[in-house]
Subunit: 224 residues, 2 copies
DNA sequence: ATCTTGTTTTTGAAGAGTCAAAAATACTGG
DNA sequence: CCAGTATTTTTGACTCTTCAAAAACAAGAT
């Protein structure tokens, strides 16, 4: 019943990969998984077969992989640890939100339940990490609420940033310097399909134009 | 230059083992190392040869093993992480001093330099962990000061407990309930060679008799 | 349908860390 | 000094995770 760090990383990657699939697809192709993990396709295949035998994944040869409910629960627990650790590092240890990902990547595999619950208490049972990613509860369950992004939200209405879907350091810094972090209230004034761009107005009438790719990484909800 | 968790554990065990050797001996026998690590002797031999090849240990077949200066530095860094983490868990996270050892055992291998230095700053650059074990500095150096124990200190003079040389949970709890933790001031009133016992007076005239074995695990210095 | 291209699976091998059991060595009592 | 005991080293094997390269397969284009 012990999940090694490696297994936990595969579960996380499958979880994230499946959730990032274009709608309609249910199974994550091996190649995607392999490159997400930085291993060769053959390695991913081998490991996924092991996961399937352990009842953690559902594997269809030449098609792809998804998590079983059990695997999903496990992945949720890893995510919970990761995200609580990230928030802890930011709130308690004073790190920047753009520099905690790697550390959490390591800590998530060794931190005990007791320590995690302590952090959870200390942080007031938060429901999202510094990037707005939801923190699963102690049984590994996540309550997924579908959200608009800057690419899909209504125009001309104030919205609050809730989540940033990219842990890339440079991107996080871009978000920070442009005051687009979770909690900020902004507004989309227009979109240009052909220019592939989105026009955003921030507080104090700051305006900027960002690409559609970036816009799709910022989740928002109606401000209020 | 990467030391795996396993290597780090061997270094720690060799360090501790050599330092716990009866005076005169310089090399830690394989058997001791093996049982300290909970592996078979053959495994220890294999690993120690690897360490020797890497320049971290000095190995004499059929005799034993010790650390090279380089290995000692590495061990010092692991100890630094371990002890800062322990203190952090007690002071910041509110854990009991008797329940942080195992957690630190895991965290010591994954915590980054940045995080460790953050903890160090946060804790005010402490020089000892909750058990009084000295915290090596950032270059892995420990300044070892020879200390008296309850078995060797002068009689009838107030002394302050500085260090507890046994991480065993039950022993730590015994120490705590009897107010013998580092910082407490006590006094040794007498020793009985044949009874193998030591008579201790604590604050408020509390008196108790402890065995020599236990007494030798409590380091003290003249109170002042 | 067949060919080509791209992905996936297999196969054989490697390194790290471990064990069990056999072989070698050291140590101790007579 | 020799026998018997205890410790240490070797040997062969196993698990986990990985890679490179060969083989198998799927799918689109002609």
């Amino acid at each position: 019943m012990l999940a090694s760090s490696t297994v936990e990383n595969y579960l996380k990657a499958i979880y994230a990969g499946v959730n990032g699939l274009r709608p309609g697809l249910r199974l994550l192709p091996m190649g995607h998984l392999a490159s997400a993990l930085g291993v060769t396709p053959g390695t991913a295949t081998t490991m996924v077969k092991t996961l399937a035998e352990a009842g953690l994944a559902e594997y269809e040869p030449y098609v792809g992989v998804a998590l079983t409910p059990q695997g999903e629960r496990l992945a949720g627990l890893v995510l919970r640890r990761h995200r609580l650790v990230e928030l802890f590092l930011v709130r308690v240890m004073g790190f920047g939100w753009d520099e905690v990902h790697d550390e959490a990547e390591h800590l998530e595999h060794v931190v005990s339940d007791r320590l995690i619950e302590r952090m959870d208490t200390m942080l007031g049972h938060p429901d999202a990490d510094p990037h707005g990613d939801p923190i699963p509860n102690a049984d590994g369950t996540i309550s997924p609420q579908p959200q608009d992004t800057l690419l899909t939200c209504p125009l001309g209405q104030p919205v609050t940033v809730t989540r940033v879907l990219d842990q890339n350091r440079a991107f996080l810094q871009f978000v920070e310097t442009n005051r687009l972090k979770p909690g900020e209230t902004i507004q989309v004034d227009g979109r240009d399909e052909s220019a592939d761009s989105v026009l955003v107005t921030g507080t104090e009438a700051r305006r900027l134009t960002i690409g559609a790719r970036a816009a799709s990484k910022l989740q928002v909800r109606a401000a209020g």
